[in-house]
Symmetry: C2
Subunit: 567 residues, 2 copies
Amino acid sequence: MFLPEWLKHYQKEQLNGDLIAGIIVAVVLVPQSMAYGLLAGLPPEVALYSSVLPLLLYAAFGSSRTLAVGPVGLMSLMTGATLIEMDISNVNDMVSTAHTLALLIGIILLLMRVARLGSIINFLSHPVISGFVSASAIIIALSQMKHIFGLDIPRGLPAYETFYQVASQIPQSNLTTTVIGISSLVLLWAFKAPLVKLLTSISFSESAIQFISKSGPLAAVVISTFGVYYLALDTQHQVSIIGNIPPGLPGIILPNLELSLIRELLPYAILIALIGYLESVSIAKSMASQKRQKIDSNKELVGLGAANIASAISGGYPVAGGFGRSMVNFTAGANSPLASVITACLVALTLLVLTPLFFFLPKAALGAIIVLAVLPLIDAHTLKHAWTYDRTDAFSLLVTFFTVLIIDVESGIIAGVIMSIALYLYRSSQPHIAIVGQVGDTEHYRNIDRHEVNVDQKVLAMRVDENLYFANTNFLEDTVMRLVADNKAINHIVLICSSISVIDTSGLESLDDILYRLNKVDVKLHLAEIKGPVMDKLRGTDFLNNLGEENVFMSTHQAMQALKSDH
Amino acid sequence: MFLPEWLKHYQKEQLNGDLIAGIIVAVVLVPQSMAYGLLAGLPPEVALYSSVLPLLLYAAFGSSRTLAVGPVGLMSLMTGATLIEMDISNVNDMVSTAHTLALLIGIILLLMRVARLGSIINFLSHPVISGFVSASAIIIALSQMKHIFGLDIPRGLPAYETFYQVASQIPQSNLTTTVIGISSLVLLWAFKAPLVKLLTSISFSESAIQFISKSGPLAAVVISTFGVYYLALDTQHQVSIIGNIPPGLPGIILPNLELSLIRELLPYAILIALIGYLESVSIAKSMASQKRQKIDSNKELVGLGAANIASAISGGYPVAGGFGRSMVNFTAGANSPLASVITACLVALTLLVLTPLFFFLPKAALGAIIVLAVLPLIDAHTLKHAWTYDRTDAFSLLVTFFTVLIIDVESGIIAGVIMSIALYLYRSSQPHIAIVGQVGDTEHYRNIDRHEVNVDQKVLAMRVDENLYFANTNFLEDTVMRLVADNKAINHIVLICSSISVIDTSGLESLDDILYRLNKVDVKLHLAEIKGPVMDKLRGTDFLNNLGEENVFMSTHQAMQALKSDH
């Protein structure tokens, strides 16, 4: 019988932590997932359905012990944007398209596993991710302003346009809604650091503090719902409420598999799948490294793929590992995915018996929950760090950030990737080339511009600090010929290859050109410190035959010694 | 007064070579340019106009002494494809759009000069260029079959479709046209090697041989024109002829500058400008290096930009430096751009007095001239070479080649560039990492898998053969942690940075992670052989502060010595 690894070796003493963490995460998850449903423009039950079966499937197939899977901000935002771009406004169609989207995402993740494409996310650099996440957090927070202030702002606008609309409509806000929204924000904020401080000062036990401090969303939901119900704010002051949530567990359904729909959804599905995978793996890795556990990125693909397929067939929408809830799970002491199983059971219980209680839940409170959940994602530190350490990385970050805000999420991530690859290639197309000399009597050779070194008038030793490939072959050729033209006394050039790990076909042709051109001016070319794999490839090429293996030296020192005695 | 460099230092003894080369190139250019006009779907006079003023402007501003500018195959093909894709069929509109295209190309090249973007062509690797040129040559040759066999095949089809159409229509070919076409091909072929051999054997002087052997196209034109005229093949056997060419020099005109037209043409213009620039610079460089002259790629941008603007305002279409004619110019002994000035004067003379003679020139002969001109561009050598040396480069070549043949020229070049960049990045995302040991008692450290070396049980020295950047940070982290897990005895890791020229922000964060994770398992991290520029950037970062500068060693040997005595 199939049993996940963690279950086979489950130990009794893990249960306590899993139980507490499972309960706390459920307390956070129920209100949060309804809020994320709102963000995607979907009915709250769709998000709640996404919080049952997917958790069980991830527990069975995923590799992280503490990743909390379910509806998350970024996926909800992108799902909502996809539905808007496809021009679907009928609620039933939106829900059914969301199922299909989740199914496609699940299948894409499984196919990535089969094709071993997990490492594709390496091409998203940290600064690009940082700019992307910060800008998305701002978009998500902005999108909730209409709920918090009770405004009527269309969805799917670029961020700057939403900002402008919010600012210009503020005078028309619904006062009662605004009071609910702002006080929810204050309440949620108070549940974080201030409450913990207070409870610590009056000597609450640590586990009690943890439980209470994570109950902010629950408290906001309970208080605001009761307030709306008791004061009849929905009918008397036009406060938007959640309304009817159909009770009961989701049934198993087959998503719409029309070919034309699939074709239209596919590009969105690919991008959302990549983002969801990226987000989940980064969170899982950062938690695992703190406990010296390992994340298997292939298993992650399977776990997330299975979770999304489960979501699709149980009436849900795309899911991933969420940053906030995973941290709650982790710090609450979850030891194994059993915590997620417990969470799923509690959400199922909520669906069975508690949905009538959410009828009067004001959307303003859910908006406040989202805002507080995404604000910590806005990350200025990486920008500051990149700005001082590597300006080009800061540039990629800013391009991503502003493209997301001005155009949209998809364009932002694509612009960021293109930007960072282009800047990297540009940099490696103009490699650092150092002329080196001997340090004293040692066997060390260092840059003549940085160290006190001895140089030979007739032998020029140069170190190319980059692979030789198509983008920089012209640069190398030009540099070598310029050096020869500027130093008429030179008879020998030693090319130090310690930094060269790859010589592609263009690079090889270029070396052959250099050799030919140097021969014409009676300068001899020599190579030193070629790495094994590079030398393996060079053997048998015309270039090496023309050069002669006797002109390849193991070390720079050996080359310099041999050439010195040459005169 | 502005005088080009070459004219200021002109020497009498250069004149002879320039005169002969100028005449020979004119003899080749007149028929060839009419043929290329046909290829672009433009009237022959447009191509002849492109062979006067542009040559003079390039002579004034270009940096190559022997580049023969004018209509070329690739540009004609791409211009024709652009006109078809823009759905222009009226000849007057086609001509006027071609003027605008040439103007845009000229302006783009000048802007590239201003923005110093000349090095952008470095991102076209040799294999991609080879695949692109070979496939284009095949397309061009295929496109002439309709002229050679007198068939009716629409232009602008993908190559495989053209091939299919030609093959299926061969039974309907016009016999007379086919005879003219095939005999022109045979004549042109005979003028190459066989005729040279014959003339040499009967002791002709070398310059006479050169002149005669280059007159193949002229001979084909004269003989076939006379044949058509004398036997009235045009009226009696429906042989397609050139017809009326308006006599006289081109007037100066202002191309159509409608904004909507410019916007539509711009993407094509950018690509054609890049290709033209690339082709010209490669040819110029290969000739210059044989005579130890220098090509200034910035001056090339100005020269080609000016030539295209000149073509636009004198009734021509896009021009570039042509491979075949430049070689003719070079081998015929051209010493300076004066040769091109002479060529331009002869083409002008042709326009003034000779155009009536071309009336009966059969298109089949022009088709044969094009086919013989482009066949040498089909290059199997680079594929063979890349296949044995570097399979991924061969793969890029083939992708480019087949994309050009199956889709079109533009898609091919774009697919090739993306392919070669993606493969390069993929390779550098999984860098070679070598564990090294001491070679005997020397200060050299080499890969333990390749050399007999001594290793220390407690100190692991590893060399990363690649820059640390976003694409490979995960790989490095995983490898280091795996090595630590597999070698429990290790207390120290020495990271040899001799191949690391760039550490970007992601790389730095990754190093910090590695340091943190190694500390947790009581393994100390050390760096050796960091390059100056890399060390400059690391100073002041949290990572270096956490590591401690005392753990940075100049050489691997020093690190190993220090750590050995540590126990």
